[in-house]
Amino acid sequence: MSDTQWLRYEVFEKERPDLPHRNAGSVHAPDDEMALENARDVFVRRPNCLSLWVAPSNQIFTKTAEELAADSSWRAAPSRRSEVYLIFNKQGQRNAETFVSHVGEVEARSPQEALSKALEKFSRENVFVWWVCPAQAVTRSEDEDTESMFAPATSKMYRQPNFYKVVTEMQKLKREGEE
């Protein structure tokens, strides 16, 4: 079934002006543009998205804190041309919807060098996972897309649990039953 295996894209979602882009999961798509469309359909059925990024999974270099502690041989890597890399990391261990968050950028000549620089530039305290992705591999939703991609979700209030007043209705029924 070779027809089903498209490239996997990681999806990053910005849910509030004061929050960074955060990894929500992944989608499969035949190209970058469809990846963005699929990401919208899979991850943005509720009104809480301001911007989406997608990047091919095979462009992302990752290391967990455990991997960093066990082995440093990854640091040696051939240099390519210098470019900007986006840095993401996972902080803390609470139960949450999101995984790694965008923390900033570094310029480097390989993903490995980008990670080495990130480990110096950003705090490592309470960080459990690092992701490094070349900025040019990321496809981003444009400001002008916001209306068509994300605004329709705000009119669909029936997707919210509080649209259904069943909790108060059950309480009322139970009180009536006791009387």
């Binding site: 999961g25 139960n95 949450a96 995984f99 649209f163």
Partner: protein, 312 residues
């Protein structure tokens, strides 16, 4: 480090409440159990679209149609979240889909029962999604990061699924005698399959002990089932509907509603492929996959033509 040292460190991380992430060391058995559980869970969401999807064109009004459409669309999305989580363990989307289409993979047996009336949409939302939420709320605390996060996302969305079902059941229960009889019939047919969703009794559940030790599950099948029975019996009685179980009784000592024995012969029959709709469900999935082939081919051809993609 030796295998035993790695295992000790791994179990200590779980005991500290840390999440295991892709890239971290994990025992093969942990990986294997998670791939099995997560892909089954994903298949349940995908196959779970079918019994309700049948009623999208039969909804009695536009509001109900919008609600049902949104719910079924969510289930499609939930399947995607779960397949994503399974892929982080090294399996591919291709392998996952193939296991479903060839009948090798299991999915929740509850979806092998037919939907026979409109009020089944209410019963499924309240009972089936209610049971699913109990299980998923527990799994949101799972030690494997990607599964836990998929569950957090799913649980926040499932609240809508359960409540729209509950709203419908209450409305019909308070309606005309004919409407009330209709919704009672739906409850009667979906009650036992919902209890079966929690799986075999703890004593005969081969995977439970290890799953709990590794923080994949934090409660047993019977514990979750009991929580569900306690909540549902009280609520169904409050809306003046009955539970189709002559042996159901309240135990003063424990404060639990004790249900009669589940028909385990039926349970295993349906699990092993001989339920009312097993063949129909698989045939529908295969047809959807085959019918979508030209779309996938067209998209791949267009992507290649425009060269906007990094080749896999």
């Amino acid at each position: 480090m030796t295998y035993d040292e790695k295992l000790t460190a791994f179990e200590a991380r779980i005991a500290r409440g840390e999440k295991i992430e892709p890239g971290d060391w994990m025992p093969d058995e942990y990986r294997k159990q998670l791939i099995r559980m997560i892909s089954q869970h994903g298949h349940s969401e995908i196959v779970g679209m079918l019994p309700e999807g049948k009623y999208i064109t039969r909804a009695p009004n536009l509001r109900q149609k919008l609600v049902l459409l949104a719910k079924v669309q969510d289930e499609g999305g939930h399947g995607q979240y779960l397949y994503h989580a399974a892929e982080t363990l090294g399996t591919t989307r291709e392998e996952i889909v193939e296991a479903l289409l060839t009948g090798k993979a299991k999915y929740s047996s509850v979806f092998n029962y037919p939907t026979l009336s409109w009020t089944d949409m209410g019963a499924i939302g309240w009972l089936v999604d209610g049971a699913a939420i109990m299980n998923q709320t527990m799994l949101a605390h799972c030690s494997y990061g990607p599964y836990s996060r998929a569950m957090v996302r799913i649980c926040t969305e499932e609240g809508f699924h359960k409540k729209q079902g509950q709203e419908m059941v209450i409305r019909y229960a308070k309606g005309t005698p004919k409407q009330k009889a209709m919704v009672q019939d739906s409850i009667n047919r979906w009650w036992w399959p919902s209890l079966m969703m929690f799986g075999p009794h703890d004593a005969v559940s081969p995977n439970s002990e290890q799953l709990i030790r590794w923080g994949i599950k934090t409660k047993t099948n019977d514990e979750l089932r009991q929580e569900f029975v306690n909540e549902m019996v009280a609520d169904l009685h409050a809306v003046d509907l009955s539970v189709p179980d002559p042996d159901l009784h309240f135990d003063e000592q424990t404060g639990n509603w004790i249900s009669g024995e589940i028909d385990w012969d039926e349970f295993w029959r349906v699990v092993k492929g001989d339920g009312p709709c097993n063949k129909e469900r698989l045939a529908a999935r295969r047809k959807a996959h085959d019918d979508g082939l030209w779309v996938r081919e067209a998209m791949a051809a267009y992507a290649q033509k425009t060269q906007r993609t990094t080749t896999a």
